[in-house]
Symmetry: C2
């Protein structure tokens, strides 16, 4: 309950600070956060299967009452987990027509070899049997410790108990069951007004320490009642991902289990390629994904700050992203952010080693609207004004490299002693 | 004196553990570490110029009594400091015939624009005037805080006081004057027996938090009495650097001021291209540079462990280095090393996102000689045996990717709360 109330506080605060697209209605999460959460056509449930801890929901199922268009993006890590391999295969075999996704926490089923693949397959088979659907209509996701075999007896009896828990409003149980080191649940719903009627976009996410291979790690499940073809849904998901989940970093690590998936039940208005409605849908989806991505950074392991690192004036977007990512990942920048120290030298030094092309004489740096570094390497700013900004929970660092058209933003957090504490001792 | 006694302890211990090449004689540093330190033809001195702190040597000069062959490697950071730009220019204008290098700590003269270049030039000019040599025969190096102008009055009166301090044995003062957050001085001398007689190779280094742009950061000055042409000396320096200073990491940052330089006075035996003596010289130089590089990692900010990350069986050396560097830089691996946690999942997950090609089923992992992961992702090892290794000050992690010929080793350290402490508050 403490986690929920912290989550609702963070969610309401971030929602109030967010500039939402005009066509979108953020749906206040309410005191219990659940009323009418999932779009029509969906239900979810969760149970305690005692996979790693006792008396804690750790197995969840999200189901559509008819075959849904589905799209998913997976980790590019070569050591990808068994459920990632299996879900990729099922999406292909079912022609992206999916009925359910099952997800457990406490064990990532990663680096588990042939036995791990058989276990992931057994999870899909068991769900298929319970729901009388085909195994390839089931996606599987896992998160938790790497390199340990799943306790399959517990998992399978958990799956047979899931059926009784399914409800359309069951979002808190579902989110709770995918949390690992998360300190609060992450979920949000948007209403969207289109020419053909209104629809809903809902999403849940987990992740803390983006991307922590041990906690294996970033998951998000999105749902909409739109009627949209799988290929178009995939395109919208990919575009949205670029500036949301793919633009955040806590520690630069990319997990073995990362997965972002979306399901469209088709009970709402139809969305076709090239339409104005499709553009609005993409805009709303990116807004929802960005919101959930920021919640992950806010909950970054040991994090106390949400900082947007924006690079502009680069030769191209690729160069801008190189510089922004290198700054965002720099341990020295992150510790300075933590120490609320206006250490601009570390920021330009990180840009300098990023591989992005620029002339150091052209650099311009701002903290929010405060000019910190002017062209010619002139650093002439009020330390007090800088300190005031750096003391905030959230602010923006903007670095101009030159006069090119390239730009990129990465959302990052600080590096604290708590991060070392959490990660020095997690496994044991 | 406390720093010196710590330094001598670390240096003696590491020297005893090192497998030195057969033709090399490590010269015990002795209780004062100075007797006959520099090769013939060299002298050094240092003064307190009060650049940042008072009553602490912060300006040093290394001089040869005749024009020396010189070679240097500089940071690739686009935001390189003024002394880096100037020294590169001087090496070119003097055809690599150099008489002196002057170095200050406390201020990096980086990100200082046109005024910074003029200040670096004024330092070289002042040294040239004192020694009655040409300005382009002087190299300049600086280390310390980025983005502040040098107090030139103090620097110039320091330079005019340096002459009286020059001695052949003056190594401790010289090392002391280039230290910043270093907790002990780093220096060593090797004797080398060649067909044409014996020679000496000496080196000093500074760095703690490799590579910390704020402390701007890694410097090493090497000296030999060999008679060797500049081009050959440059080649030997580059080869040696690959497996020494270029193969260490504390936090993955690359400074604005990094410089490794070597001077050959030519009073000793001659070394020519393609000779057996050249091969022995290169071997000894790499051994000395690796020794000094390891001292830097041991003194890494907040570091308690020196860990060699070796990747073998890669498609080629480039792939091996990609994987080794990604593992060595991973905050999650570094915190696990700090926590003495046999968290092998983080190691293979870092390799998996490195871009190196491999099949996860082929991976093999060892801590020292202990097999931790066998092909097929079988992790079957004694936690006790692993804990015993991970509790050591120094050990090796070896990851086999497959059956290719590629291999690489990176020397890394752990990530501790002290690192966050030091870097969250340094500037202020």
């Amino acid at each position: 309950m403490e986690q929920l109330s912290k989550g609702l506080d963070v969610i309401h605060k971030l929602s109030a600070e967010t500039t939402w697209p005009a066509s979108v209605t953020p749906m206040a999460a309410g005191s219990d956060g659940t009323e009418g959460f999932w779009p029509t056509g969906f239900s979810a449930g969760a149970v305690s299967a005692n996979i790693k801890y006792s008396n804690r929901k750790d197995l969840m199922l999200l189901v559509t009452d008819r075959p849904a268009s589905a799209a998913a993006l997976f980790t590019l890590n070569r050591c990808c987990a068994a459920p990632v391999t299996l879900s990729r295969e099922h999406l292909q075999h079912s022609s992206s027509s999916i009925r359910a996704i099952v997800c457990n926490s406490g064990n990532a089923n990663a680096a588990t070899g042939k036995r791990g693949m058989a276990d992931a397959r057994a999870m899909a088979d068991a769900v298929a049997q319970e729901l009388s659907i085909k195994p390839e209509e089931v996606l599987v996701a896992s998160t938790g410790v790497i390199g340990q075999l799943l306790p399959m007896e517990k998992v399978l009896s958990g799956i047979s108990a899931l059926g009784a828990t399914m409800q359309r409003n069951s979002v808190l149980d579902a989110v709770g069951a995918i949390m690992t080191t998360d300190t609060f649940p992450k979920f949000f719903t948007l209403g969207l007004q289109l020419s053909g009627g209104s629809l809903r976009l809902s999403g849940i996410a987990k992740g803390s320490g983006m991307i922590c291979p041990n906690m294996a790690t970033m998951l998000s499940f999105l749902a909409t009642d739109a009627a949209i073809a799988p290929a178009l849904l995939h395109e919208a998901l990919e575009m949205g991902n670029r500036h949301s989940f793919n633009a955040i970093t806590v520690d630069g690590d990319t997990s073995t289990n990362d997965m972002v998936s979306i399901f469209a039940s088709g009970t709402g208005p139809e969305i076709t390629a090239g339409s104005q409605d499709y553009a609005l849908f993409c805009e709303a989806l990116e807004a929802l994904m960005t919101f959930l991505a920021k919640l992950i950074v806010i909950d970054g392991e040991g994090a106390t700050k949400l900082v947007g690192i924006t690079v502009i004036g680069a030769a191209d977007d690729h160069d801008a992203e190189l510089a922004a990512r290198t700054i965002a990942h720099s341990s020295l920048v992150k510790t300075a952010i933590h120490g609320e120290d206006a250490n601009w030298g570390r920021i330009i030094a990180a840009a300098g080693r990023s591989g992005a092309m620029f002339n150091q004489e052209d650099l311009e740096l701002h903290f929010n609207d405060l000019p910190v570094l002017k062209p010619g390497l002139v650093a002439d700013f009020s330390e007090e004004a800088a300190s005031e900004i750096l003391a905030k929970d959230s602010y923006t660092i903007t670095l101009r490299l030159g006069n090119g058209p390239g730009q990129a933003t990465i959302w990052s957090c600080d590096l604290s002693k708590e991060y070392v504490e959490i990660n020095g001792s997690y496994r044991s």
